[in-house]
């Protein structure tokens, strides 16, 4: 047994699932269908991410959903090589990023299908959904093919 396998026996190695609120259920339903959904305030027009119970701009309850283009640019990123939770050990190296969606909001994601050394701030990326289980598909992003 390797050291990592031995240590892994001490830790919870299950992949963490999103802790969902009632008003964000629709986001995850959309992700299951391959859609990146953003909340849209019908009162003030704000595009909202992450999903809220009320519009954080005007407190309106009149909130709908719009499908985003799935296109974004990398605002910043960091590639992990060590000191992550044991449950993410098998993913190393992986790159966490903040991406600015074409529609405005910024979100945390992973950058995939790209060598870490090739990832740059300002890079254009597009959403690709990563299956965690039958319920949750995380919106990851990959470079837009030139």
């Amino acid at each position: 047994m390797s050291t990592q396998e031995s240590q892994a026996n001490q830790f919870d190695m299950t992949r963490p699932l999103p802790v969902v609120q009632p008003w964000s259920e629709a986001f995850w339903e959309g992700a299951r269908e391959g859609k990146l959904l953003l909340q849209h305030c019908k009162s003030c027009g704000a595009m909202i991410f992450y999903p809220r119970k009320f519009c954080p701009e005007c407190w309106s309850a009149e909130i709908g959903w719009k499908e985003a283009s799935g296109r974004a640019t990398i605002y910043t990123f960091s590639t992990a090589y060590d000191m992550v939770e044991p449950r993410f050990w098998t993913d190393i190296p992986y790159t966490i990023a903040y991406v600015d969606l074409k529609e405005g909001p910024r979100m945390m994601t992973r950058i995939v299908e790209c060598a870490p050394a090739d990832i740059k701030i300002g890079m254009e990326v597009e959403v690709v959904f990563h299956k965690l289980d039958d319920k949750f598909f995380l919106p990851y992003f990959r470079p837009v093919a030139k």
């Binding site: 999103p18 992450y50 090589y81 060590d82 903040y98």
Partner: protein
């Protein structure tokens, strides 16, 4: 905001080390009794006790929150006690509450303290705590984010915008360790100070953060006795007087953080605290910056307008913030030099501010220290509380 009505008149501290042989209550006894004795008061004078929340230690948090400390130490005239939690901004809030207790007549002397013993917490529990504290469980945690990664995200963006080099970033560790090596209460006391090149030789944790740019979890504790500025002045002993304060909230979730809003907030809180103190930036003798990671220090140096934009890292590389430099900065080495005791670092930096103003900082003593800038910041940077402390009342 109106500050300037309280003073720290006594401090107590144990060295920050890995010391599983010491229980939390063992450290509480020693630090609190030392602070009371140092203040020149007696235990009968302590009218309230406020604890900075010990993160990742739920049993101790409950014991303190439910009033065990005044009973344990025999503070027979204690009128109230509580735990305050704002993460790394906790101690600033303890001092604010102490100010409220004193100004409203609840207490004339307030004991503020903190203790953390990381070394006896089971590793899986420690990992679980630090993995989920300060990140969103729906929109950040499932992607595999960590505190280190949050700092990496911030640092990469800053380096992209400013041109700050990895060597300049690494030099922050050199500066902080130069102070810590001269602080008997720091975990790196007496240890060799790594060069920036040596820092960069250490393993990459996550870009651009190297192992030596991260923190060592440690055990420690400290305490302070706070009274009204008027009472401190009448006592006629060296003290640290609170002269000014300003605060900004940014956002809880790092993903939502507006970088400009944060930088402007760091700048504006400093200006407002300095203005309230009735001094100028040039009067500040020590910038006792607390940010928990070295990567944020060049950003702070620029936000404080000590270094021009893009030059923050260069100032560290040039040794200006190091021991012996012309800009005394984080004189216990902050969390990377002192050792990370959770929210306890925010207590330790205030104890250092008091020591410097009392003229009792030993080898680290900044000559003629009259004014200290002291900030704290909570969570993964949800706010910044800037304060100015002086050795004389307003």
């Amino acid at each position: 905001m109106k500050s300037g009505k309280i003073a720290i008149i006594g401090v107590g501290e144990v060295p920050t080390r890995t010391m599983p042989e010491r229980s939390r209550w063992d450290i509480i006894y020693d630090t609190c009794m030392e602070a009371v004795r140092d203040s020149g008061l007696t235990k009968s004078d302590i009218g309230a006790v406020i604890s900075t929340s010990p993160q990742a230690q739920p049993q101790l948090t409950a014991e303190l929150a439910f009033g065990k400390l005044p009973e344990e130490l025999g503070f027979e005239n204690c009128r109230d006690t509580c735990v305050v939690n704002a993460g790394g901004a906790g101690t600033s809030n303890c001092l604010r509450l102490a100010e409220q207790y004193i100004n409203s007549g609840v207490a004339e002397a307030v004991l503020v303290h903190h203790v953390t013993v990381h070394s006896t917490i089971a590793v899986p529990d420690l990992i679980a705590f630090f993995a989920t504290a300060g990140v969103d469980l729906q929109w950040e945690y499932p992607f595999g984010s960590t505190y280190n990664i949050i700092m990496g995200l911030m640092a990469n963006r800053y380096m992209h915008e400013s041109g700050c080099t990895p060597l300049e970033m690494a030099s922050v560790v050199t500066a902080l360790r130069s102070w810590a090596s001269r602080d008997p209460n720091s975990i790196f006391y007496g240890k060799a100070v790594p060069s920036p090149e040596k820092v960069l030789e250490s393993a990459m944790l996550n870009t651009p953060l190297h192992k030596r740019e991260s923190n060592i979890l440690a055990d420690g504790g400290c305490a302070m006795v706070v009274v009204s500025a008027e009472r401190a002045r009448k006592m006629g002993k060296p003290a640290a007087y609170k002269l000014g304060e300003s605060v900004r909230y940014f956002s809880a979730t790092p993903m939502m953080r507006n970088f400009e809003k944060m930088v402007y907030g760091l700048r504006d809180t400093a200006k407002e605290a300095i203005a309230e103190a009735g001094i100028t930036k040039e009067d500040v003798n020590i910038w006792n910056v607390y940010l928990a990671y070295p990567l944020a220090h060049p950003i702070m140096a620029e936000a404080l307008e000590i270094a021009p934009f893009g030059q923050g890292g260069k100032y560290f590389l040039d040794g200006r913030m190091s021991f012996g430099g012309d800009i005394p900065w984080s004189t216990i080495g902050e969390a990377p030099g002192r050792g990370h005791t959770g929210s306890g670092v925010s207590s330790a930096v205030y104890v250092e501010t008091a020591r410097q103003l009392m003229g009792r900082a030993g080898e680290r003593q900044v000559p003629n220290c009259s004014y200290v800038y002291q900030n704290t910041s909570g969570g993964s940077g949800f706010n910044n509380i800037a304060t100015i402390w002086g050795r004389e009342p307003k």
